[in-house]
């Protein structure tokens, strides 16, 4: 009985603990707290992108675009429609509205993915992200290039981590089910998957729509946390960061990708401290180290050389260690 519901129970636990923490969040160090919130938002983005890039094998570079749609839609909804409905009704409605708008965009991007693969799909999705940014820049009712200001600060620890729990729970469930094995089959061998009766078209669009929906939620959370969004925040560099989280974490491992999202978020902040910590290094070297994207790129290259499958990729050490510790896994499955 307990084993049957432990996952749902974990989700409930995460939600309750988030709620408790959100009640006392004023007493935390605000700088560190901000990093925690960003880490949570990045987990949502990275894990949802993992469904598209990692599990379904469709290389998308458009996640910032989905996030932007979610952010702006949620911000507009809060300003014009649900603003007076309060945090417990209005905010979720705004978030879901943002997610749904992003999901619609997911259909639009998913359709070219039926004809394109690999590099070509990457370019189309990259173009999509840029188009979204340019469109927003030219929409006056959302502030255009000046940005969208004075969004109420509704995002707190509870909303971020309840949705983190939701995305981890639902997407892990998904890829573990027989239904979800279809995504992996599409990635591994599309022709074989199709010949085995899997509607590969539907699977690809489903992956895009689901990934986009959660990216839209993350966008809404982000908008209601920073309270001021501009189109330039959702540039393609942001999409690259999400892809990096997926690659570093290990394509197809949700836990690994979530871990990498936290790691890279924290690392990004730590790198700001590098000049202070490594004061003894020569000035010119510090100048180079200050450039975070440079260090990020080096990190990515090092990981690609040492662990091309990502930290938690194929044959990951955490799972082996866990199996050894609990005695669950292979043997239990084989006799099930």
């Amino acid at each position: 009985m307990l084993r049957k519901y432990w996952k749902a129970a974990t989700l409930l636990g995460v939600v309750l603990v988030s709620l408790l923490i959100s009640q006392v969040e004023g007493s935390f160090n605000q700088y560190i707290f901000q990093i925690v919130i960003y880490a949570g938002i990045n987990i949502i983005l990275a894990v949802s992108l993992n469904l598209i890039n990692g599990h379904t094998g469709q290389f998308s570079l458009g996640h910032a675009g989905f996030m932007a749609i979610g952010a702006y839609t949620a911000a507009v909804l809060t300003r014009d429609v649900v603003g007076s409905w309060g945090m417990w009704i209005g905010f979720p409605v705004a978030l879901i509205g943002g997610g749904l708008m992003a999901a619609v965009a997911g259909v639009v991007v998913g359709i070219p993915s039926l004809r394109l693969r690999g590099d070509y799909l990457a370019i189309v999705t990259l173009g999509f992200g840029e188009i979204i940014r340019v469109i927003i820049q030219n929409l006056d009712f959302v502030g255009g290039a000046r940005g969208f200001a004075a969004i109420p600060k509704l995002t707190d620890f509870f909303w971020v981590f309840a949705i983190v729990g939701l995305v981890m729970w639902s997407l892990s469930n998904l890829v573990k089910s027989t239904y979800g094995k279809g995504f992996l089959a599409v990635r591994d061998d599309e022709i074989a998957a199709e010949a085995m009766g899997i509607n590969t078209t539907r699977y690809k669009v489903t992956a895009f729509v689901t990934g986009a929906f959660f990216a839209g939620l993350a966008g809404g959370l982000y908008a209601h946390y920073v309270t001021y969004i501009t189109p330039t925040q959702f540039s393609f560099i942001l999409s690259i960061e999400h892809v990096m989280m997926v690659i570093v974490g290990g394509m197809g491992s949700n836990v690994g990708v979530a871990f990498a999202a936290v790691l890279l978020t924290v690392l990004k902040e730590l790198l700001k401290l590098v000049p202070d910590l490594l004061w003894f290094l020569p000035e010119w070297l510090l100048r180079i180290l200050e450039n975070r994207m440079l260090l990020f790129s080096i990190l990515l290259v090092v990981i690609m050389i040492l662990r091309p499958q990502g930290l938690f990729g194929e044959g990951d050490w955490v799972r082996r260690w866990w199996r050894k510790l609990t005695g669950r896994g292979r043997k239990a499955e084989a006799t099930a």
Binding site: S170, T178, M196
Partner: protein, 256 residues
């Protein structure tokens, strides 16, 4: 006609090349038929048309009384035609178990939302899938490797897994594309036993492409010979072996 599969004047042209030229044959519901011919005769093209990978230029393919021309490969699989591939196409990152599991996706009772929540019918359906998968793995003595990566198995085992995966879709017609390719004589012997057993146990019609004459002559009841896309002979193995047109296609014209 009560045949399970009827191919009627099937033609496929790639630009100026006629790969398959007005080919007609049929396979009854309990048939074990062979499709042979020299390299480039158009055998795999015929398979690709039957399974919807290519749309034929002309002609018709009827399965169970209705035409399958114009259907997508996954829809054709759902009408109970399954196939294997000339170059084994197993999913490399999936285990043997998972490779068989994906053949069951089309038979699931539940959809996307149940998959994300594991609620409702989920557990019952998953248990059914697991039971059926283990059952079929047991039949082929593959349970011991159920959790190995499929592409790490020995070559002969990979071929078997691919046949098992095709059977797991519950077909009425099984298309085998060169199942004996790359096998040694012992494995070939085992394969012949396997194919006969599959036909009996699963009650499927089988159409196979094969270059190995021992295998073809040993198990097929009826053979269609293709050369340059056209049917040059058809009949039981003994008649095919003696047919001068077949000998000519394979060995060249006899000089006097």
């Amino acid at each position: 006609m009560d045949d399970l599969l009827t191919v009627d004047k099937l033609t496929m042209r790639f630009g100026g090349l006629t790969a398959v030229d007005s080919l007609s044959f049929s396979v009854p519901a309990d048939g074990l038929h062979g499709l042979i011919g020299p390299n480039g005769a158009g055998k795999t093209t015929v398979f690709n048309m039957i399974t919807g990978v290519y749309a034929p230029t002309a002609g018709d393919i009827r399965f169970n009384g209705s035409s399958v021309v114009g259907k997508k490969p996954f829809q054709i699989c759902q009408t109970a035609i399954a196939r294997t591939f000339q170059n084994i196409r197993l999913c490399p990152t999936l285990t043997v178990f998972e490779n068989i599991q994906i053949a069951q996706v089309k038979n699931l009772d539940y959809g996307f939302f149940t998959a994300t929540t594991h609620a409702g019918r989920f557990r019952r359906d998953e248990e059914r899938v697991a039971a059926e998968t283990f059952e079929i793995l047991d039949l082929f003595n593959l349970r011991r490797v159920a959790h190995e990566k499929a592409t790490q198995l020995a070559y002969g085992d990979q071929r078997r897994v691919e046949i098992v995966r095709a059977l797991a879709t519950k077909p009425k017609l099984l298309l085998l594309d060169e199942p004996a390719a790359g096998m040694n004589p012992v494995e070939k012997q085992e394969l012949m036993e396997l194919i006969k057993e599959v036909k009996e146990r699963f009650n499927v019609a089988i159409l196979l492409i094969e270059h190995d004459m021992k295998v073809v002559m040993g198990i097929c009841e009826h053979i269609v010979v293709l050369d340059h896309g056209a049917k040059i002979a058809a009949g039981p193995p003994a008649a095919i072996q003696a047919d001068p047109a077949v000998i000519e296609a394979y060995l060249g014209e006899a000089t006097h």
